[in-house]
Amino acid sequence: MSINVWSILKFFAYVAIIMFFLFPIAWIFNMSFMTNDEILRKVPVLFYEPTFKNYIGLWEGEIAIEGFATMYVYFKQNLINSAILSVGSVSVTLLLGVPAAYAFARYKFKGGEDIAFTLLSFRFAPALLIILPLNLYFSEIGLYDSYFALIWVYQLITLPLLLWIVRGYFEDISPDIEYAYRLDGHSWFQSFWKISIPLAKPGIAAASLLCFIYAWNNFVFALILGSSQIQPVTVGALAFITASAIPYGLIACGIVVSVLPTLILALFIQKYLVQGLSLGAIKG
């Protein structure tokens, strides 16, 4: 009896969660195949002839509004920019953050905690506070409007996140396992590469995914520090709104397309996320 109640509750929990979190997503997906006329109805249309006009328009970058004007969108370039910025940022973060996280987890050196905390404090440096001075600074040293500068600034968001998540995972690995590997005759670097990193993989995977998402979604840094040539999809998609319409179909379509790379990455990473326990018994 009690098991029944429990599983009924569980069923409703699933339904509620799916409805709340995924229904809007499904509706966005749905809208991406609709015209604005079909989207903006008092009573929603459920059956309509799906149009690929939005997708084609995004791809071609030119949307002709019949007898009125031609709308230009630079979404493809925005997508490429987002990809460069996010992949670049996450790569740099992994390169710097994983060894640093390891150092903070393993070596209790003097001032180590202070450095770790300072790095964390970058994360809560309010963007509005630093963005104007940064703009001034980057203009002065000729870094305004460069991918490099943005990837650098993105580290403020991604590096602390990765550092603090991955650090916890490293701390969970028994140091004896690493010592054992070194006593086998492997160098410090080999034990880091072959033991510590593989064992912290679920944490590194989860942190990288989050870093990627945050880099991908960043808005204000790119907006202020870059020309329209290097704007990511987040800024680009807002430009769909014109003086003659809010093309919701196109915006929905832009969201769908902009989410796809992250979704694919998440699916790819998922096996590591899931791996967590299956390696299990890290402690013995």
Partner: protein
């Protein structure tokens, strides 16, 4: 000339002296048991010997070479950890093969295969080589860990209370089996335990560690019969008898034992 020479070794953490001015000379091929109560610094000693920790002062000489400053991977020492420290993401076979791959860069795969199987069969784990550590029983984990420390025939094997985390039956079996296996390798063994019976059963010599140094180093028989101090004697007493709250005092040249108010 002894093979392993510990000269005035000291190690402390903050203000805590764990090991102070410890001396020992260990012969080649000897089964040297370090016995001491928990918290006496046995594990620290092993870590100093293996290079995981560096001594504050004193010297460790191996074959007349000072090895204090050498990294773990540079010392011809292997170790089996109390908690096994198996690599969870590698199968038992790869766990055991690890030292072979590390120290003999170009060892052909078939030779590795041969050596791993040889030691695995000797330790009766030939049938679990294809399993991950989490799929092994504690006894099998322990044997895998031993196999890993022995497979490359190191000059010195450090065994950190290897029987502590296995159940009584296996412990009993292994106590008989271990000396035989180790003899075949003709290697110097430093074995840590806090079980005096185990120490007596296994050791060629026993060193009794407390107060940061070796207080007795002698054959099991001698230590048992002629302990150099009361503390040693107490440690080697049968635990069931000593299971009372007892105060031991030296009074008027006599030893006085005070148990629940009664004097002996």
């Amino acid at each position: 000339m002894s093979y392993l020479d510990l000269d005035n070794l000291s190690k402390s953490f903050k203000d805590d002296k764990i090991i102070s001015n410890l001396n020992a000379k260990i012969e080649k091929g000897e089964f040297f048991v370090v016995f001491g109560p928990s918290g006496s610094g046995k594990t620290v000693l092993l870590r100093l010997l293996s290079g995981i920790m560096m001594a504050d002062s004193g010297e460790i000489k191996m074959d007349n070479q000072i090895i204090n400053e050498l990294h773990p991977e540079e010392r011809d020492v292997s170790m089996a950890f109390q908690n096994f420290a198996l690599y969870p993401h590698m199968k038992a076979y790869e766990n055991i093969a690890s030292p072979l791959r590390a120290k003999n860069k170009n060892m052909p795969e078939n030779e590795i295969h041969e050596k791993v199987n040889e030691i695995a069969n000797l330790l009766k784990i030939g049938h679990v080589l294809n399993q991950f550590p989490k799929e092994l029983s504690n006894g099998q984990k322990q044997r895998t860990s031993l196999a890993r420390s022995l497979v490359d025939k190191p000059s010195v094997v450090l065994l950190d209370d290897p029987l502590r985390n296995v159940d009584a039956k296996i412990r009993f079996e292994m106590r008989l089996e271990l000396p035989k296996v180790l003899k075949e390798f003709n290697t110097t063994v430093i074995y840590i335990t806090q079980d005096f019976r185990e120490a007596m059963a296994l050791g060629d010599r026993i060193a009794v560690l407390y107060d940061g140094k070796f207080n007795d180093i002698d054959s099991p028989k001698n230590i048992y019969q002629n302990p150099s101090s009361l503390t040693t004697a107490k440690l080697f007493g049968d635990p069931t008898i000593n299971n009372f709250d007892a105060t031991i005092k030296k009074q008027n040249g006599f030893v006085e034992v005070d148990v629940n108010g009664e004097h002996f």
